[in-house]
Amino acid sequence: MRDVTLIETELLAAPAADAESLLPSARRKRLLHILRRPSSIIAMLGVLLLIALALFGTAIAPYSPGALDLANQFSGPGAQHLFGTDDLGRDIFSRVIVGTQYSLMAVVIVLSIALVVGIIVGASAGYIGGLTDEVLMRVTDIFLAFPGIVLALAIAAALGPSITNGVIAIAAIWWPTYARLVRGQVLALKNNDYVDAARSLGSSNVRIIVSHILRNGIAPVLVQLTLDMGNVLVTFAGLSYLGLGAPVGTAEWGAMVNAGQTNILTNWWLSTFPGLAIFLTALDLNLLGDMFQDILAPGAARRI
């Protein structure tokens, strides 16, 4: 998935806006048009709900996510327990609500690390060029030589299962995409006249990169960021499902799917609801990503 979206965002870098669509009034009209689409409205409401659940989940949840109730093991979904209870009688609805914060936090932190590392590596490679470029890009290639989750698995295994280590492991496989993207943007923009002008005025290299090159070339990077949100969420849940993200027993969605799977044939709700939470959240983040893509990269083809 990462590779395909990368290629698509490289295509997006080409400016497609004609003169008329650059008029402020036309741009505002287009923005409103995008924001009023049903899919955008669903995406924005969904994200508001997710943020609310992440911030106030513990207060909203009807039960404490860790509260044991051994008399009510495996009770099916009903009025008492909306999503049923698990093997220890814990309320799955409450655990799904409280789990929101782990997933959202993982997405935000993984993408922040990937972005920062990607900008530092990619901008240095593209701006300095020569041997530095060669070395940094070969290192990037080596990280890309592992298929997806495999390297994350090895790193998480070495560091031990915890949410922090899971986040580090996924960030380690995610930054190379950004390094390549940023390098491409820097190469495309660094020979512009306004960059030369800034240099002749005595701007430092860091200042040139940050406020002249990145400011003009950041749009495709942001598009990639919004398209990646759903992927990171599902990958993090997958790592936890394998027992290498959130430790066993945490109210994290992937770990809950794992915990429920031994008894799923007799109690279908155990893994079904946490998995549904992953699916719907990723779906919502993807819709949001499509919306941001339309806003940030006008004229680009829709992802799907």
């Binding site: 395909v4 592992f146 698995l153 790193i155 992927n231 992937g254 799977q261 992953i278 990723a282 993807n286």
Partner: protein, 335 residues
Amino acid sequence: MTTFLARRLGFLVLVVLGVSILTFVVSHLVPADPAALIAGKNASPATLAIIRHRYGLDKPLPLQYLSYMGGLLHGDLGLSSYSRRPILDDFLDYFPATIELTFYALLISVVIGVPLGVYSGLSRGGPLDHASRIFSIAGSALPIFWLGLLLQLVFYGRLGWLPELGRLDTFMAAPRHITGIYTIDSLLSLNLQALGNTLKHVLLPAFTLAFATLSLVVRVTRASMVDVLAQDYIRTARAKGVDRFSVVMRHALRNALIPTITLLGLQVGNLLSGAFLVEIVFSWPGIGFYSVNTIQNADYQAIMSITVLIAVIYTFVNLLVDILYIKLDPRINYA
């Protein structure tokens, strides 16, 4: 072509070097002392020192790396403390199951995805086109380990049509070992019972693994079909009186499939990493299943060696895919 191949083979060497350094560094991030893991909890400092010496853990890190690398080059990946066998033997035992699963997943993606994509490209805006759009939006958000469990719940738990776990029924003997890929082995040894049983077992995991790729295949095939159908040569063919069916099959499809093949090449990595999850859901004894088990048993040597092997295989597959493109589309020129 020659310079392209030389460059890519050079890159392969670099990957082996880089990947082995990377995994070596990662395996030394392990907070636990490997000597203590081997010796057990109550070992005396003297025992630990002996073990460190025997496994070369008392040497400086660069020397340790060199002896590790020397082993790798001789095909010696070390011993697995989980299975107590050479890691290479384990790999050769488990990897065919992953190849089999991935092959069927690719097959399902193509056999279902291409016709569906062509059809929605031909009937743009129709109900099937909308359905395939929804399907492909869902495809990228669906966690496949969850999809696998749901399919088990329905097709094994409720309907009882398909088996839940493994490659064969519990009491069925594996076909005579020739390649380790049961479909091929049972065909070669004319063991039709094992063949049928294998196919029944592979259906759910392969479909689960295929799902994300399938939805992309539908979308990409549809888009390139729409593109190709708008080309002048299609109009020319129609104007010459070629019937619609031949235009689609002979003129359009052939060119429309190039992006689909590119996509399938890019998907090999996703299928391999997806296999790690699917193999756990379905207890499919492939390399993902093996790796996760070694991780749960703190067998770091095995994890690192397997990681290096997979990276090398993946890089090699990518090279093959690139060569295939050149053969398929003479316009592509890498040199």
